[in-house]
C-alpha cells in the first residue's frame, strides 16, 4: 500500500433525475514514473495508480487507463448522468495491488 493515499471527490449532494453533473476527483499519490534515479544512480521502480473507474449504482460512468505520464496526485474531471438516487463508487487501482475506494451518495428529488 503506497503511503498517505487519500481521495478527495466532488459530487453534488442532490440532483434532479437525469441531470448531468461535473465530477471532480483528486487522490494523493506519488505516481512514481519509473524514469527517476536515486542518488546512487539506480532507477526508482515504477509505482503508479494504473486505472481509475467511476460507477453509479453499478453502472459505469468512466474507466481510465492511466500511464506514468499522469501527474502526481492524479486529477480527473468528467461528466456523469444521475438517473436516480444512489451511490457513486470511485476506485483507484495501484500497481502494487492496492485498491483505493471512495463512495459518495446523491439524492434525486
Amino acid at each position: 500500500m503506497a503511503e498517505n493515499v487519500k481521495p478527495r471527490v466532488r459530487v453534488p449532494r442532490s440532483a434532479s433525475a437525469g441531470e448531468v453533473a461535473t465530477i471532480k476527483t483528486l487522490i494523493s499519490h506519488k505516481m512514481e514514473s519509473g524514469q527517476r534515479k536515486d542518488s546512487e544512480g539506480n532507477t526508482i521502480p515504477r509505482s503508479i495508480i494504473n486505472r481509475f473507474t467511476c460507477d453509479f449504482n453499478g453502472q459505469n460512468v468512466i474507466d481510465v487507463t492511466m500511464e506514468p505520464a499522469i501527474s502526481t496526485n492524479p486529477y480527473f474531471e468528467f461528466e456523469a448522468t444521475i438517473p436516480e438516487t444512489g451511490e457513486f463508487t470511485f476506485t483507484w487501482y495501484d500497481d502494487d495491488g492496492s485498491v483505493y475506494e471512495d463512495v459518495q451518495s446523491v439524492e434525486v428529488s
Partner: protein, 282 residues
C-alpha cells in the same frame, strides 16, 4: 542554435509579459465565495520601494490560476484534508489530539493572517511550525515534526486554509522590531556567487523574466504553496533556502532565527493582501 551576441543583462531585460498569458485583471474568487485581494497599495514601510503589492497568483499563467479557484481543483487541498485527519488524531503520552484543546480547526481563524508573531512566553518571534511543535512536545507529549516534514506541511496548510480571504497583517514594531530589522537586512543583502539579494529579483525586477521564470514580488501570503514543480506543499523556509542556493550561496538553515526574521519581514511586505494558503504556483 546560433545566438547573436547579447550581454546577459540585456537578455535578462527582455520582458515577455504576454508569454504564457497571465490576465492582469483577473479576480481570484475561490469556490465562488472567498474573494481575495491580489493587488493593493503597498504598506507604508515600503514607501520609496514599491507602490503596489501583488500576490504571486497574478504572475502565473491562466491555467495555473484556474487551479486555485476551486477547492476540488486545488491539489493543495488534499493535504489540508490530511491535516484535518492529523488534527483529530490522538498522539503522544498525554493522549490528546489538537482537537482536544482547540476543538475545530476553524477556531484558529485569523491566526495565519498575523503570523509570524511575537511569542511573549518564549521571548521570540514564532511561526506556525514553532507553535505546532511546542504544542506537540510540551502539551501532547509527542515528538516534534520536522519543519518540512509532510505532517507539518499538512498542518500549516490546514491552519492557513481556515484564514483564507482574511487580510495579512503582521506586526512590525514593538517586541518584534529587532527581528523585523534583521529580516529586512537579509532581504537587501546580496548573497552567493551570483551576488543576488531578494530585492534584486523581487523588488527591482518583478514581472520580468529570469531565463524561463516569470518573476513575482516574492510575496508569502499564499504559503504553504502547492508547487507544480514538486507536486507537493512547500514552506517559506524551504523556498528561502532554494532561492539562496540558486544564487550559489550557502543558505541559512530551515528553522533558523535568520529565516524566521526573513519570514517576518517578507510577510510584512504583503500586509494588505489576502491569505491564500494553500495556493498553487509553478
Amino acid at each position: 542554435m546560433r545566438y547573436k551576441a547579447l550581454t546577459a543583462a540585456a537578455a535578462l531585460a527582455i520582458a515577455f509579459p504576454t508569454l504564457g498569458a497571465a490576465d492582469p485583471d483577473a479576480n481570484l474568487i475561490i469556490n465562488g465565495e472567498i474573494e481575495m485581494v491580489t493587488e493593493t497599495a503597498a504598506p507604508d514601510h515600503l514607501k520609496g520601494h514599491l507602490r503596489s503589492i501583488r500576490s504571486g497568483w497574478t504572475f502565473r499563467t491562466e491555467e495555473t490560476q484556474a487551479l486555485q479557484m476551486d477547492d476540488f481543483d486545488n491539489p493543495g487541498m488534499i493535504f489540508v484534508d490530511q491535516g484535518r485527519d492529523s488534527w483529530n488524531a490522538v498522539e503522544g503520552d498525554a493522549g490528546q489530539s489538537c482537537a482536544s484543546c482547540h476543538e475545530e480547526p476553524e477556531s484558529l481563524r485569523g491566526l495565519r493572517a498575523s503570523l509570524p508573531k511575537w511569542n511573549e512566553e518564549k521571548g521570540k518571534v514564532y511561526t506556525a511550525e514553532m507553535y505546532i511543535n511546542d504544542c506537540r512536545t510540551e502539551r501532547m507529549g509527542a515528538e516534534a515534526w520536522g519543519w518540512d516534514s509532510q505532517p507539518m506541511k499538512n498542518m500549516t496548510a490546514l491552519i492557513a486554509s481556515v484564514s483564507r480571504g482574511m487580510t495579512v497583517d503582521v506586526a512590525i514594531d514593538g517586541p518584534v522590531e529587532d527581528t523585523w530589522e534583521r529580516g529586512k537586512e537579509i532581504y537587501y543583502t546580496r548573497y552567493g556567487q551570483l551576488e543576488l539579494a531578494c530585492a534584486n529579483c523581487h523588488e527591482d525586477n518583478y514581472d520580468n523574466y529570469i531565463r524561463a521564470d516569470h518573476l513575482s514580488q516574492g510575496q508569502t501570503n499564499g504559503f504553504p504553496v502547492y508547487r507544480l514543480k514538486q507536486a507537493n506543499l512547500v514552506s517559506q523556509h524551504n523556498r528561502f533556502n532554494g532561492c539562496i542556493r540558486d544564487t550559489r550561496g550557502v543558505p541559512y538553515d530551515v528553522g533558523s532565527d535568520d529565516f524566521v526574521a526573513l519570514q517576518l519581514y517578507v510577510a510584512s511586505r504583503g500586509n494588505g493582501l489576502s491569505v491564500e494558503g494553500p495556493s498553487v504556483r509553478n
